[in-house]
Symmetry: C2
Subunit: 332 residues, 2 copies
Amino acid sequence: MATIHDVARRARVSVMTVSRVLNKPDKVSAKTIKKVKRVMDELGYQPSQVARSLVKRRTNTIGIVMPDIKNTFFNSWFRSVEKYARLSGYTTLLCNTDEDPEDEMKLVKTFLAHRVDGILIVPHSEESVKYLMKAKVNTVLIDRVYEGIDIDFVATDHYEGAVRLTEYLIGSGHRKIGVLRGPGILFPDIERHRGFSDAMEKNKIEIFSRYVHNCEFMEDKAFETVTQLLQDGDPPTAIFSFNSLMTIGAIKAISSLGLRIPRDVSLVGYDEIPGNEIFTPGITHIKQPIEELGRNATKILIARIENPRQKLKQNIFLKPELVIRESCASVA
Amino acid sequence: MATIHDVARRARVSVMTVSRVLNKPDKVSAKTIKKVKRVMDELGYQPSQVARSLVKRRTNTIGIVMPDIKNTFFNSWFRSVEKYARLSGYTTLLCNTDEDPEDEMKLVKTFLAHRVDGILIVPHSEESVKYLMKAKVNTVLIDRVYEGIDIDFVATDHYEGAVRLTEYLIGSGHRKIGVLRGPGILFPDIERHRGFSDAMEKNKIEIFSRYVHNCEFMEDKAFETVTQLLQDGDPPTAIFSFNSLMTIGAIKAISSLGLRIPRDVSLVGYDEIPGNEIFTPGITHIKQPIEELGRNATKILIARIENPRQKLKQNIFLKPELVIRESCASVA
DNA sequence: TTGTACGCGTTATCAG
DNA sequence: CTGATAACGCGTACAA
């Protein structure tokens, strides 16, 4: 690939002039610009970002660490991030962790080695977040945040979403509510559970611990749990799932028992499952403002990259939306 | 961020020794290695890939250009690519084109500016492919390939998939088959249509042009078309959709007319629609070997990067799989 | 086993 | 408006 020297030689100007044509065209005569540009075209010249990065100490790249690109929620989010990043002149490095903390740590280090200007991360382990803070890298946390930590983050208000979904169930007359939750380590899980509990207490409804299960956010665990729950003597009349994978597991379990939603049991959950708009019954769910989540995160990160002295960290909670479909029955 | 000089100074060795600890540890005494490594840890030192890239003329990055990360087919594919790339020590730059040829061209140029070692592209325009060939960049085309062009590619055998799906319909007694296709520009579209036509001819079944429609691979166009088709005097008994978006459009149209699959009309299509495993009826479809598509493409690209003199290009067609579900009825 | 000098492709600085 | 020179952080060749 042609270098700036090739261009300079062929255009019979100095290397500096070529550089200026690219970066400070107003300091170069129109005639020279034209001549140089023609040569650049002839040679298919592209200025080397790597050389440029070395001297400018900026790579114009953003590293993105996420747990699973196959998850609809995350890939939609990435799509919006990539769009805004590109509009601002940044290219995105993307890696999957598959929820593996070791991979996550390695990836973070790889990104630092590539000298990305900033990192957007949907973290799994607190360790990598701490590492990033210590290394003083521009970082924005997404979705899974740690409160009381001095770092930018953008997330949905998981607590409020859970409250609204729970109150919706209660409003439909449900008292016995099964909960499919995670292990209680990640922020969204904790917050959603807190929202559920508070809503139940506020309405003076007893929470039975036998209805609340840790399904690790996984489809097969949810399948087992729901199969159990519904075969027990006193089954819940409604099930609240904390993510879309577990919702799918629940649907499969219900259907394999020969039961129907919402006739035999109601089902609501966090996030929309794929295909929800085509099939019946549509599942009532909490919709997170994904596009906004991406736009805000990118904007905050780029602002910090371009203005590093700004000390105050931004902590943004976006409002979730309750989308009512046909998966919840009224009970007496 | 600490540089190799900082490490050298603090460890009281020369810069070269530090470099060797990283790249040729066998040429350094165990004691020195230990000392240097400790300092690297203390400083959180990560060798600069950008400086390293400049001298090695290799960035250890792969650029990926794809039309839409939200499409299940593409994001599953990316997931597999990223995995294999990472295992081989490469980091991925990912950008979305949203099927915009101008964006695609810009992205390709951006990647070249970043001096990626190679490019994986699901191309929309032939222009960007030609540009890459002229620039002699290591490139592997995915899914949408141009035959008779001297470049590596990996794709599914679209022709055979269409033949099998069509023969399956014919075997179930269908004669009047509606086809939702694209504009006839992209390779998969052309090949699938050729497969459909050949299968019909081979079985001596007349193809009615009023049953074959260009829906631009878009959901809403498919919706309109299917609505029309089924309201006409002599509607098809089965519909063959060329991608999952159009399949979704067809499902919505059928359901909005109050009809049922497969009782009133059969529906089959290329690629699995999201949620297909949970809902009834499952749609009979052609499944592409996505994981293999990613693994092969990545392997070929990396082989070419690491062994550029290999002249012969690899053109790989993978076999698709027919997945039979419940969306196709037998007719007399 | 360890160190010195140079170059990778670009921009900043200073001089003309 | 244009050009010469140094520097960015690292690896290679050669020397010690």
